[in-house]
């Protein structure tokens, strides 16, 4: 069994009567990249601060390499952290910022400069070592932040929404950089984000959080293909939600009572069926068969490699469809049948959680 680097056991934290974290337990194996994914206010940053030690939990244990560090102060935990705000020291040059944690640890000078040079090379900033943070772009500053966080080989690398202060164009580049560097170093990482694409692309495992709880823990593929409930399904980007009622394993659409053929479900009662926009197939209105919902095209937008449709059902609910270019197109106002293939549908419990 692989070594468990970080274990959280029943972590709880509340601000007065407001509960920020409730009974959080999870394990991160050595070298694993874990994302804490959730909307703002879900407790993901609070949890990161509990791991870093800048915030003490009300209850539970933080265990690193089988040692309980819950009461160990931040500066003795040997964590690396990349901040949303970069948090570079403005009075120090790039090289001095990266050397900072090595100086604090009393490394000999020659080794310091060797390691600083190596870390700056990794983030492609070796030519800017003597600059000051204010002279760098946001993307460059965050690279310095990353170099500073890995240069002392921390036990765990913590990343607090490191891309959200960057321009959209820089984000993907920086994401790839983070991915490469963490794999290359084999470092254990915990990454906080509200962007499901970042989490899916970077992680070995994702903990989806809502209202201070972990609502689902799994691999990106599990989270994406088998969301645990309607909150997770919404959050990982399922565009279409259809309220259904399940009786004896048979799903009926609540709006009109028609039967929806779905993969086997063991639920009963109120549930939600989800399907991606790209899985919805548009057919002429005359086609019939199971899982065909009569709709009117209320908008069709040409997006280059695909067409995005907004469909209105007779009952008034909306569906989104995405058809590749080259398939028959349907003009606004056309009556169509939206075919929801059985194997692309997922049915999850309806929690009514807000998104």
């Amino acid at each position: 069994m692989t070594h468990v680097r970080l274990a959280l056991e029943h972590i709880g934290k509340s601000w007065g009567r407001l509960s920020a974290l409730t009974d959080i337990s999870l394990q991160v194996r050595r070298g694993m990249f874990l994302s804490l994914l959730g909307p703002s206010g879900c407790g993901k940053t609070t949890l990161l601060r509990v791991i870093a030690g800048t915030l003490a939990p009300d209850g539970g244990r933080v265990v690193v390499d089988n040692v309980d560090v819950t009461r160990v102060p931040t500066y003795r935990r040997n964590m690396g952290m990349v901040f949303q705000s970069f948090a570079l020291f403005p009075h120090l040059s790039v090289a001095a910022n990266v050397a900072f944690p090595l100086q604090v640890r009393g490394l000999p000078r020659p080794e310091q400069s060797e390691r600083v040079a190596e870390a700056l090379r990794m983030v492609h900033l070796d030519t800017l070592a003597e600059r000051f943070p204010r002279e760098l772009s946001g993307g460059q500053q965050q690279r310095v932040g990353l170099a500073r966080a890995i240069v002392y080989r921390p036990t765990i690398l913590l990343l607090d929404e490191p891309l959200s202060n960057l321009d959209a164009s820089l984000r993907e580049e920086m994401r790839l950089e983070i991915s490469q560097i963490t794999r290359q170093l084999g470092i254990t990482a915990v990454y906080v984000t509200h962007d499901q694409r970042e989490a899916l692309a970077l992680s070995d495992a994702i903990a989806v959080m809502n209202h201070g709880r972990i609502v689902q823990f799994g691999t990106p593929e599990e989270i994406y293909r088998l969301p645990a409930d309607d909150f997770v399904a919404h959050f990982v980007g399922y565009a279409n939600a259809i309220a259904v009622r399940i009786v004896d394993g048979c799903a009926r659409i609540e709006a009109d009572g028609s039967v929806l053929t779905t993969p086997h479900v063991s639920l009963t009662g109120a549930a939600t069926a989800f399907i991606h926009a790209s899985a919805v197939v548009l057919e002429p209105a005359i086609s019939n068969g199971p899982n065909r919902l009569p709709c009117t095209v209320s908008d069709a937008a040409f997006m280059g490699d695909h067409v995005e449709y907004l469909l209105r059902q007779e009952a008034g609910t909306q569906l989104k469809a995405r058809a590749p270019v080259g398939t028959p197109t349907f003009a606004r106002g056309t009556k169509v049948a939206a075919f929801l293939p059985e194997d692309k549908l997922i049915v999850v419990p309806r929690t009514g959680a807000d998104i």
Partner: protein
């Protein structure tokens, strides 16, 4: 347009004159001779009054007294105001506004009133005519300025940088030395300069508690004036000016003037 420019220039000029004219008078008095009646300028220029000042007064020991007291007052003031301002700026203290009011209070009442009380205590404790005693008295004057500048400077510190320092391995002391202090240094330097000058320039409080061993430049100016030598007093005042001007120039080089003015916003 032209009228507005003239008006602006005129206002600026009168402001500058208002501040500099009295100073110019002191300089004319110090370097001039035979300046009587309605003469616009002295009849002759001379260094005589400086020679007189040096002959009648032990200028070196007066200067040393003044600087020693000012340095002590600066150290005492910072020792009190740095932790105090830190507490006010970084923690949510109850009665915060009352606390700030209390710190500013000594500057809001006549100095002579405070001086009477200080004199009373100092006579009882035998602190008069000691450099340490006078420096302590000056803390009352310096602390409000210093505290206001420091609170503003500490409030501007980004708590995320302190958190970053802690995560990167700094214990409380190391964090203070490596992060907090360098970031707060401009504010502390400004507070130190204000404290030094508040003590260096003080007359009223010093007058109440000085003695033969602790004559300072402002007191000496007053004593020379009392002896009837207006020009000698002016010469001593001129010497008195030099450190203030040097400090002002040094301060503007080291500290962004906004830091100093920013301190006054917080009050």
């Amino acid at each position: 347009m032209r009228g507005a420019a003239l008006l602006r220039g005129g206002l600026l000029l009168s402001f500058v004159l208002f501040i500099t004219l009295p100073l110019a008078m002191v300089l004319l008095e110090a370097f001039g001779a035979d300046w009587f009646g309605a003469r616009l300028l002295p009849a002759h220029w001379t260094l005589r009054w400086f020679v007189w000042a040096a002959e009648t007064v032990d200028l070196v020991s007066v200067l040393l007294n003044t600087v020693e007291i000012a340095l002590l007052a600066t150290v005492f003031t910072l020792a009190i105001t740095v932790p105090g301002a830190w507490a006010i700026a970084r923690y949510r203290l109850p009665l915060r506004s009352i606390l700030i009011g209390a710190i500013l209070f000594p500057r809001m009442i006549p100095e002579i009133t405070f001086a009477l009380g200080v004199a009373r205590i100092f006579y009882a404790l035998h602190l008069t005519n000691t450099a340490v005693g006078i420096a302590l008295a000056h803390v009352i004057l310096a602390a409000p300025f210093a505290a206001v500048v420091l609170v503003s400077s500490f409030e501007g510190l980004d708590p995320r940088l302190l958190e970053a320092g802690a995560v990167l391995g700094c214990g409380p002391l190391s964090l203070f030395r490596r992060v907090t202090l360098p970031l707060a240094l401009p504010g502390i330097v400004a507070a130190a300069l204000f404290s030094f000058l508040a003590s260096y320039n003080d007359f009223v409080l010093t007058l109440m508690v000085y003695g033969s061993e602790t004559v300072t430049l402002p007191v000496q100016t007053y004593l020379s004036l009392g002896n009837g030598y207006l020009s000698v007093a002016a010469a001593i005042s001129t010497i008195l000016l030099i450190p203030s001007i040097l400090f002002l120039l040094g301060m503007l080089r080291m500290v962004n003037p906004e830091t100093l003015l920013g301190g006054l916003k917080g009050a």
